[in-house]
Each structure stands twice: as structure tokens, then as C-alpha cells.
């Protein structure tokens, strides 16, 4: 009869340490819950230290609320560079993205105001001196940030009078592109799952549909390449709203129109009529039926 080996001291220590971290996070959670509850606020009015803490927590709660609901939030930051323009003032834009039921790390775009100092740009109208420019950002390279910035945040120009900067349009444009990009990424993952393929790189067994690979084929994940066991390859082109714009399947004997129709489930090969989600559903049904 073999009994499990007695826990060593190291195991015990690590168990205790993990307990400490859980307890600590519980304390932090309880603290913020208590401090932001309206009933406690009335009790705290006597203690200045607690009141200031409570204010901090309340403002943080408000910030998270805005982040959840508005998904576009602004904040201020400082540029540590001593030579930074506008004495280092930075306006930050935080873009929240939800993918597969989770909030991802937000994307940031940080702006500065390079036209503020008078010595450079004394000829500019005063309104244009406060114009923003993208300074740093964490948006992936496949989002056309430069194009959006050129459209909505143009640089001041003496000749063209009518141009205006529109931060709102810019922010909404960036968010739209980012959300679409993540939706497309999620769709590729859904397609793989529906077709019974494992994670990228691992060989799935194909789940009886005969598909061996589904992967994004370009930087923007607008093109999805599909490979069958019998050597046929296909391409799906996804539009802005997740509709299948084009579908091509090429086999050994040239183009395979039947295969393309089959992939879309006979839903019609008219461009734009089929949502890519319907393809996911169809593949999932096929997989479970087979």
C-alpha cells in the first residue's frame, strides 16, 4: 500500500504564500468595496485620511465605469524627456477591446502638442497651436493609424484654412478598426474550433470535415486561407462587417466552384450575403454530425 508522499516544507511554504496573495487581493477588494459604498461615506466624514482614500477609490470606480461603458477614455501623462515639446504634456487615449468575453489590455494612443511654443510657429493662428499630433501608440501595425491621423488630425498648414482636427472622429475610427481586427481574429479562432483544428501549429484530426488548416493569410486578417486534406486550397475574403466578400477554392483541376458553394453551405455565392459566423456555425454542425 502506498501513501502519497508527505508534503515537504517547500510545498507548505508555497501553499501558504499563495494563500497570502489570495488573502491580500481579498483585502484590497473588500477595502475598495467598503470605501466606495454610500453607507460608509457618511460614517467616514470625521477622518480626513479615510475620506481622502475613499475619494481616490470613488474616482477610480468612476474611471472604470467610463472605461467599461464608453470604451474610449482620455487621461493625462507626462513625457519624461527633458526636451519634450510643450513641456512634456501628453494626452492619452485609452481604447478598450473586448475579445472572447474578456477585456484585453487596452490600446493606447498618446498625443502631444508640438505647435504650442511661439518661436516655431508664430505665424500659425492661435487655434492651430493647440493641435494634437500622435506621439506614441501601442496600436498594432496592421491598423491604419497613420492614415486615420492624416485624415482627422492633420498638421497645421497656413495655406489651407478650412481644415480642422477632430479627435472624436479619429478615436472612433481607430476603435472601429481595432474592434474589427479583433473580431476577425476571433472568427478565425472560431473557424478553427468549429473545424476541429487544434491550436496553431498543432495538427488537428480534421473532425471528419476534411479540413487541415485555417489561418489568416494577411496582416489585417481580412483574408483567411483554408486547406483541405485532398490538397484543395481556398480563400475567404471578409469584409468590414464580417460578411464573406469573396470565396475561391482551387483544386488540382483548377477552380472548384462546387467546393466553394459547399463551404458556404449552399447559402449562395453572392458576395456579401453570407456572414462568416454562419460559416462557423455550418462547420460546427458538420463536425458534430460527422
Amino acid at each position: 500500500m502506498s501513501s502519497p508522499p508527505p508534503p515537504t516544507l517547500d510545498d507548505e511554504i508555497s501553499a501558504l504564500q499563495s494563500k497570502i496573495t489570495t488573502l491580500k487581493s481579498t483585502i484590497a477588494l473588500q477595502t475598495s468595496t467598503l470605501l466606495t459604498a454610500p453607507s460608509t461615506l457618511s460614517l467616514l466624514s470625521s477622518d480626513p485620511k479615510l475620506t481622502s482614500q475613499s475619494h481616490l477609490h470613488t474616482s477610480h470606480l468612476q474611471q472604470t465605469l467610463y472605461r467599461i461603458c464608453a470604451t474610449l477614455t482620455l487621461f493625462r501623462a507626462r513625457d519624461p524627456d527633458p526636451n519634450a515639446v510643450d513641456s512634456g504634456s501628453i494626452l492619452g487615449l485609452r481604447i478598450e477591446v473586448v475579445s472572447r468575453g474578456k477585456f484585453l489590455r487596452p490600446y493606447y494612443v498618446l498625443f502631444n502638442r508640438p505647435w504650442t511654443p511661439s518661436s516655431f510657429s508664430s505665424s500659425l493662428p492661435p487655434a492651430q497651436k493647440k493641435w494634437l499630433r500622435v506621439h506614441r501608440h501601442t496600436v498594432p501595425a496592421c491598423i491604419p493609424l497613420a492614415g486615420l491621423a492624416a485624415r482627422y488630425l492633420p498638421a497645421p498648414d497656413k495655406d489651407k484654412k478650412g481644415r480642422k482636427q477632430d479627435l472624436g472622429k479619429f478615436a472612433r475610427g481607430v476603435r472601429r478598426e481595432v474592434v474589427r481586427y479583433h473580431a476577425r481574429l476571433g472568427t478565425v479562432a472560431d473557424l478553427r474550433k468549429a473545424a476541429g483544428l487544434g491550436r496553431r501549429g498543432g495538427n488537428g484530426n480534421g473532425n471528419g470535415i476534411g479540413l487541415v488548416d485555417i489561418s489568416p493569410a494577411d496582416a489585417e486578417v481580412r483574408h483567411i486561407s483554408v486547406e483541405w486534406e485532398d490538397g484543395r486550397t481556398g480563400r475567404l475574403v471578409i469584409g468590414d462587417d464580417g460578411e464573406v466578400l469573396k470565396v475561391v477554392v482551387v483544386g488540382e483541376n483548377g477552380r472548384d466552384r462546387e467546393g466553394a458553394k459547399d463551404l458556404l453551405g449552399g447559402l449562395g455565392c453572392q458576395p456579401g450575403t453570407v456572414k462568416v459566423e454562419e460559416v462557423v456555425k455550418r462547420l460546427a454542425n458538420l463536425g458534430s454530425g460527422a
Binding site: 484590497a28 472604470t64 506614441r136 501608440h137 498594432p140 501595425a141 496592421c142 491604419p144 492614415g147 486615420l148
Partner: protein
């Protein structure tokens, strides 16, 4: 194989063989180590690659003891047997020469195919990741060409407001690149995925001959060194950029020729990347380095492209910042945040001496300016940074030159003073295995004052060539815009 040599415009087939005694074969294979040679040979003998790298086998009907007597490396009867032979060589000890001889005079005595050479060349890249110097280019869309008043077509301009991200399709790209290359040179292309990094590597091997016969292959491949005839192009995943390798070993004779050849190819690349009604061009991003990982970090599909240095805290994917958490976050660099990083909360705070406090402060300042970048062991370093200073000389200050240990604390801040406009021409060159890690260490030691250090010393712009004006790198080419 045709008997008559006819000039063609097709590309060289992967299976065409080069005489194993030609210098290009010995040079390509000779620079690999023993273990790499064996793994390359095993790769050639893989089922999928066998058609492009057929070894010399014993014909079936021949008698065993007919011709083999004088043969030092008797031919194997099947690829399987050969594979086992190389597997056994892997476990045995021996010299590199032995394997090289076996390949050249034994198993591939009838010729080494271009595909095999490409595989061997890539293996060299894996063995020596810093053997190539890469330059990053951005693929930017162009406006459609316009006609001016005289009806002449103007060269197209860069379309700054375009929202289209250029796409890259490997086989289409190769087809149009072949069309761009002049008919009097032949090229062989090999596409391969990088083993560890998210990259697609295209190797172009150029032969100066309009024919694609084995004879022209061995004669023209023989006389010029390999470095100038091979060009590597890397396509990172999820990013409209392209890395082109610079030839490193060009002798004085082949220099101009290989330069023009390379220029020709580089010119053809944007045309090959263009699609109908969607022209693109290549734009330099002022980043040249030997380190592919650094290139991927700065120009790849990650978040760090335009958020280097201290800004990398915004790009760090590990930081959890969900808006659903109501817990008050501790600000970065505060004591509480540090405690989280350190792990155990050692509450007993010691009284720090003045010296300790100074070093702690220097460390924190370095953390604030560099973030998580510029660590010595992170493997993401540039080895050379060239900067031209275009600042107005203001007062007699300390301006060091050409060493890592510079003290530029006395630089002017703020706006240009109009009292004098003398701009001394000062060039700064930083050399080292990891330039910005070195500067970070100097900050941590307190040799450079981290708080008044200009931003370009943190490497946050992500450029290796630049001009500094008013204390900032001009143009912000690195900022991704």
C-alpha cells in the same frame, strides 16, 4: 535537360544541380559546423524534400561488387539507408571535413541542387543569427499616378490618408518579382518560415547568365563570392514591413556589381508587392541592425512598434488592467508596486544610507526612462547607432564624442536662443553589443543623470540613424507615423 542552351525568362528551378566541386558549394557548406551539416543532410533526405535533393544512389540492377571497390563512399541503395547512416554519424564523433567530403564526393557527387544550397544557407543563418545586417522598410501605399497639364504622367506620391494595409501573397509576389528582374540574370527563390521567429524568409540567389543550364550555373556561380549573390528578405507576420539583408562580405571587385544587383532587386520589390490599382513603395524606417528580434519588436506585429523606452509600460501585455477590477491600482514605480514585483512583502524597512538611497533612485529613474527595454540579457539590442547633432551651440558645456561614456547633461533645454546660431557639426556613434542596455547601465550606476538625459538616449524612437535637433530626433520616423 535540354542539349541546346536557350535563354529563358523563367526562374531557376529548385532541382537544378550545381557541380559539387564549384566554389559556391564548398563555401556554402564549408562554413557550417559538423552538427549543422548533418542536420542539413537529414533535412535534405526528408520525405518531403527528397524530390529536390535526390542523393546519388546505387542503381538497382547493378552488381554489388562491380564498381564500388575504388569508391571511398559507396552509394547507398535507398534514401532510408542513407538517412540511418547520417543518424549514426550524428552520434559518432568526428571531424567536419569527413561529413563535407561525404556530401560532396559521395552522396551528392552528381550535384547539389539549388534547393539544398538554400537550406544550407538558412541553416547558417540559424547558427549565426547575427550574420546578416537587416534594414527595415515600411510598405506604404501610393496614390494613383496623375497627369499634369502637358499630359505627362507624374510619379505617384505617397498616399498618406490611405486606410489600406498592403498585403503580401508569397507566390504572387515571386511571380511578379521574376517579371521585374531583367532577363539576362537568373534567380532562384526559396521561401521558408523561420524556425523560431514569426518571419517568412525569402532567399534570392542570383546567377549572371541568361541560361538556366547546369553549365552556366556552375561557371557563373564559381567566380564571385557568395555574399554578394544572395539576398535575404524577411516578411514579418502581421506587419506591413519588410526586412532586407545587406551583403556583408563584398570584396573590392564585386562591390559595385553586387550593389547594382541589389539595387535592382530592391527596386523590383515594391513593384512586385503592388497589386492592380494599388501601388506601394518602400520607405526607409532608419533602422538597421543585425538583431532580428529587435527588428520584430520595433517593426513587427506587436504593440511595441511606436512605444519604446519608458513608453513600453503601455505596451506590456503582461500587465493586467481590466476595467472590471475595482481594486485601486498602485502607480508604477511606487513602493507597493515594487513589493508586488519582489513577491514577499518584507515589511521591515531598513533605514537606507545616503548612498543606498542614491543608487535606488538611479535605478528607479532608469526604470522610468527605459521601462522594460534596454536590459542586458533581453537579446533585443542594436549594435550601432549613428546620430548627427544639429543643435545650436549655446554655451561652453561638456560635449563628449565617440564614446559610450558621454556626459551631455549640459544640453540646452527648451527653445532656441537667438543670440548665436553656430551649429557645430557633431556626430555621435554608439557601438556595442547592446547600445541602449549600456546607456541604461550607466544611468543605473549614476554616471549619466537619468532625469536630464535626452529622450533619444533611451532608444525610444527605434531608429539607428537620425538627426537630433532641439534635443529630439527629427522626423519621428520611428513613431510609426
Amino acid at each position: 535537360m535540354s542539349r541546346i542552351s536557350v535563354p529563358t525568362t523563367a526562374r531557376l528551378p529548385s532541382s537544378s544541380r550545381v557541380n559539387p566541386s564549384s566554389p559556391i558549394v564548398t563555401k556554402t557548406l564549408g562554413r557550417l559546423s559538423r552538427s549543422s551539416l548533418i542536420s542539413v543532410a537529414l533535412d535534405w533526405l526528408d520525405e518531403d524534400n527528397l524530390s529536390l535533393a535526390t542523393p546519388y544512389l546505387r542503381p538497382d540492377q547493378e552488381d554489388d561488387d562491380d564498381e564500388d571497390d575504388g569508391d571511398f563512399y559507396p552509394p547507398a541503395s535507398s534514401p532510408k539507408e542513407l538517412r540511418e547512416e547520417y543518424l549514426s554519424l550524428q552520434t559518432r564523433k568526428g571531424s567536419k571535413r569527413e561529413i563535407l567530403d561525404r556530401i560532396i564526393t559521395g552522396d551528392w557527387r552528381h550535384g547539389v541542387s539549388l534547393y539544398q544550397l538554400a537550406i544550407a544557407d538558412l541553416q547558417y543563418l540559424y547558427d549565426h543569427p547575427t550574420s546578416q545586417k537587416w534594414t527595415a522598410y515600411k510598405i506604404v501605399p501610393l496614390k494613383s499616378p496623375t497627369e499634369d497639364g502637358n499630359g505627362e504622367v507624374q510619379p505617384p506620391e505617397i498616399d498618406k490618408t490611405s486606410l489600406c494595409i498592403p498585403r503580401f501573397h508569397p507566390s504572387l509576389f515571386l511571380k511578379s518579382l521574376q517579371a521585374q528582374i531583367l532577363p539576362d540574370i537568373k534567380a532562384h527563390y526559396n521561401l521558408d518560415r523561420h524556425k523560431t521567429l514569426p518571419l517568412l524568409i525569402l532567399r534570392i540567389f542570383v546567377v549572371d547568365s541568361p541560361y538556366n543550364t547546369p553549365l552556366s550555373l556552375s561557371s557563373s556561380a564559381g567566380n564571385i563570392d557568395t555574399g554578394s549573390k544572395t539576398i535575404l528578405i524577411a516578411f514579418p507576420d502581421g506587419s506591413p514591413t519588410i526586412f532586407i539583408s545587406k551583403p556583408t562580405s563584398t570584396g573590392p571587385a564585386g562591390a559595385s556589381e553586387s550593389k547594382s544587383l541589389r539595387a535592382l532587386l530592391v527596386e523590383g520589390i515594391p513593384k512586385a508587392l503592388s497589386l492592380p490599382r494599388q501601388r506601394v513603395t518602400l520607405q526607409s524606417t532608419s533602422l538597421t541592425t543585425r538583431n532580428l528580434e529587435e527588428l520584430l519588436e520595433r517593426r513587427g506585429g506587436t504593440r511595441g512598434n511606436a512605444a519604446g523606452g519608458g513608453w513600453s509600460i503601455y505596451a506590456d501585455e503582461k500587465v493586467k488592467e481590466s476595467p472590471l477590477s475595482t481594486v485601486l491600482p498602485s502607480p508604477p514605480l511606487s513602493d507597493a508596486a515594487e513589493e508586488e514585483v519582489e513577491g514577499n512583502g518584507d515589511k521591515k524597512r531598513k533605514r537606507l544610507t545616503v548612498e543606498e538611497r542614491v543608487t535606488k533612485r538611479a535605478r528607479l529613474v532608469a526604470q522610468a526612462r527605459f521601462g522594460e527595454t534596454g536590459r542586458v540579457g533581453d537579446g533585443k539590442g542594436v549594435e550601432r547607432v549613428d546620430l548627427v547633432m544639429e543643435d545650436v551651440f549655446k554655451r561652453v558645456g561638456s560635449t563628449g564624442n565617440n564614446t559610450d561614456k558621454m556626459d551631455i547633461d549640459g544640453e540646452d533645454e527648451g527653445d532656441v536662443d537667438n543670440s548665436e546660431h553656430w551649429r557645430p557639426s557633431v556626430r555621435l556613434t554608439f557601438h556595442g553589443s547592446h547600445v541602449f542596455a549600456g546607456i541604461r547601465q550607466l544611468v543605473e550606476c549614476g554616471i549619466i543623470d537619468g532625469e536630464s538625459m535626452p529622450g533619444w538616449m533611451t532608444g525610444e524612437e527605434g531608429v539607428t540613424i537620425g538627426a537630433v535637433r532641439n534635443g529630439r530626433i527629427r522626423g519621428h520616423k520611428g513613431a510609426g507615423l
